[in-house]
Amino acid sequence: MELRIDLSAVASARALAARITAPVVAFVGQHSTVAVERATLRLLGLDGVGRDEIPLPNRFVDALAPSTRARGVAGALGAAMAETGASLDAIARDVDAGTIDLEAFAAVPEAASRAVLEPLVRAAFVRIDRARAAREAYLARLPQGAPPLLYVIVASGNIYEDRSAAVAAAEAGAQIIAVIRSTAQSLLDYVPYGATTEGFGGTYATQENFRIMRAALDEAGERLGRYIMLTNYASGLAMPEIAAIAALERLDMLLNDSMYGILFRDINMKRTFVDQHFSRLINARAGIIINTGEDNYLTTADAVDQAPAVLASQFINEAFAHAAGMPDAQIGLGDAYEIDPDREDGFLMQIAQAQLARQAFPNAPLKYMPPTKHMTGDIFRGHVMDALFNLTSVMSHQTIHLLGMMTEAIHTPFLSDRALAIENARYVMNTARHFGDDIEFKAGGRIERRAAEVLASALALLQDVESRGLMTAIETKTFADVARMRDGGRGADGVFARDERYWNPFEEALAPRGALA
């Protein structure tokens, strides 16, 4: 089933998105953030917590004088190491203890700093590349099965409970496990440390938790003969750092949206733009598939009205990802099945939208989210809504398929909710496996008309954004019905202009040629 869509409109939308993001990417090239610098330290090998349980990367970056910070943490660290001959770890401990003054090494030449960091940078890439190679080897040996890939969440708050739940879900047929973060972790300007057993509405994303879950899923994957993918959330104030630890611990996907934090978490837009770029540089190298968050537009506003905004946002997310050197195969653009179930022909509109995304982004591993907003306590009706969502997904060849839970309106999923959701999807996707391939849309029918309308409106929206600039557009409620000021929001004070001597070894190695011109 192929929509006859206006390919030139798709091309224009893509070109517009590139023009919309270009000035923002240029802005990114002139700024950095505390989170980018902390992520740099993490990649160089820093981990652990110091005084008051504060992570060492935070202690380190917070210890820098603004002028030093403006030249990048790498320079400061390299200078200290070159001068003292001490290890990264030892220096970080000293910083934490307040027994070293990082400003003291300002005179160390950049070349010396670079030289001393060089082995650490190389080691980082070795680790990241090894993880990527390991994933590829796993997938070759233990193929994960055909898409739509069944994705379920675990969210008990306790990583050990999550582990049991994840393994049980894998046994039941899940192909991707997401560990939902504790409520509003996105607002934490650091990455919590260690294995955690308490959380609200989810489990903290920590490097140790990543490791625990990865190990359990690798073991389950061996047993089941299928590699089980693991995903978590990057977007938020610690976006680059989470990208870094995910790369090290072989996560396979990450929620990573270029505007989610701004719109839905009131995080400062400059902060988010800089952070998302750096995090995607890392994701790209790690072979991690990003998942964008367009589904969020649909949970707070009407899904029929928001369809053009979703498509426009997909183009923008794609453009930002391209700017960070991500290939299409790593750009998991988001969409969701959120149209009012009581609307006549709502199913046709869902198909139109899902297939439009499929054709507009033919090589992207699309992420498809289930009904959530219109789910109620009537679990029986909800289960049927999920069935039609499953059908739409297999028909339109979605890639990353988040399973709907019949208890969506009630509680975070029980073990049985996940099992029944998987059963639902497996049944529907098998009995209707080639249905989408066996039908065509009536030319000019309801589905095609709806797709054309969404595409045209998205194009108009992008034109408007391009003419006014992305930051101004966000200031004037263009997306998700919310206005965010360019200097407002959380984490604004963590953004700073780069000194002209700024350097970052990872950005240099990873930035696609000419991107941050």
Binding site: S156, G377, D378, I379, A409, I410, F414, S416
Partner: protein, 244 residues
């Protein structure tokens, strides 16, 4: 030993359960409250009425999640003996060597029950899910009487043909018709002095071995039964009886 387990939602021993039911009252917030109190009165805690709504003028429907403190000691469960299954050759060999003649088996759907698919699955050559039926075994001489067989007719047949094993199926269970029919057969066989010398086997989707035992049957087979399980059981028991 004793290992008590409880229903599991997302944490061991959380006791989480899902319930749904209808109350014969019009829906209102008071109906939600009635549903909540009812489930509390049953001994559940943390009762959440997730959904309550009218499904007809005098009826409300509820979906409830709640927790129970009640557990079950799984070590005290008398597990139905794990039936080891022989293959056709095994059964045939056992009967040929130890009995020296074919076992005469009669099957029927008794009473007004016309659901023959189940008993046919056990008896017909074709069998069930790739497991051949009793007709395929040399060990058995089979008579499938079919559907809606009166108990009297079946008992007459058992006597006239000197049947060794009687297989009866009941699928309809409404108003206890299955129990009534099973019981009538057992009693009539008893009254006719045939019970001792015939192996009496019950089957159907609601049958369990426990239920069959309660009704005075030698065995009961429920949903998903494979013919070879039944074949093995009959062969072993008849051989045992012949050589106690």
């Amino acid at each position: 030993m004793s290992t008590t387990i409880r229903p599991y939602g997302d944490t061991r021993d959380d006791g989480a359960m899902q319930l749904s039911f209808t109350l014969p009252m019009p829906w209102s917030e008071a109906a939600d409250e009635a549903a909540r109190q009812l489930v509390l009165a049953m001994g559940f805690t943390d009762v959440a009425v997730a959904d309550g709504r009218a499904i007809a003028s005098g009826y409300s429907q509820f979906v409830v999640y709640a927790r129970t403190a009640i557990g079950i000691d799984i070590d005290a469960i008398v597990a139905p003996p794990k039936r080891e299954t022989l293959d056709i050759a095994g059964v045939d060999a056992l009967v040929a060597s130890r009995l020296g003649r074919a076992i005469r088996v009669a099957g029927a759907c008794i009473g007004t029950d016309a659901h023959t698919v189940g008993i046919d699955a056990i008896m017909n050559m074709k069998g069930y899910k790739g497991d051949y039926g009793l007709e395929r075994y040399r060990a058995f001489e089979t008579y499938n009487l079919g559907s809606q067989i009166a108990v009297e007719e079946l008992v007459r047949f058992v006597r006239d043909r000197a049947i060794d094993a009687v297989l009866v199926s009941q699928v309809v269970t409404q108003k206890g018709s299955d129990i009534a029919n099973f019981t009538a057969l057992a009693e009539l066989l008893e009254a006719e002095n045939l019970r001792e010398r015939t192996l009496l086997v019950a089957g159907g989707p609601r049958v369990t071995n426990r239920l069959a035992a309660e009704l005075g049957y030698d065995a009961g087979f429920g949903r998903g039964t494979a013919p070879s399980e039944v074949a093995t059981f009959i062969a072993r028991r008849i051989v045992e009886r012949a050589h106690p």
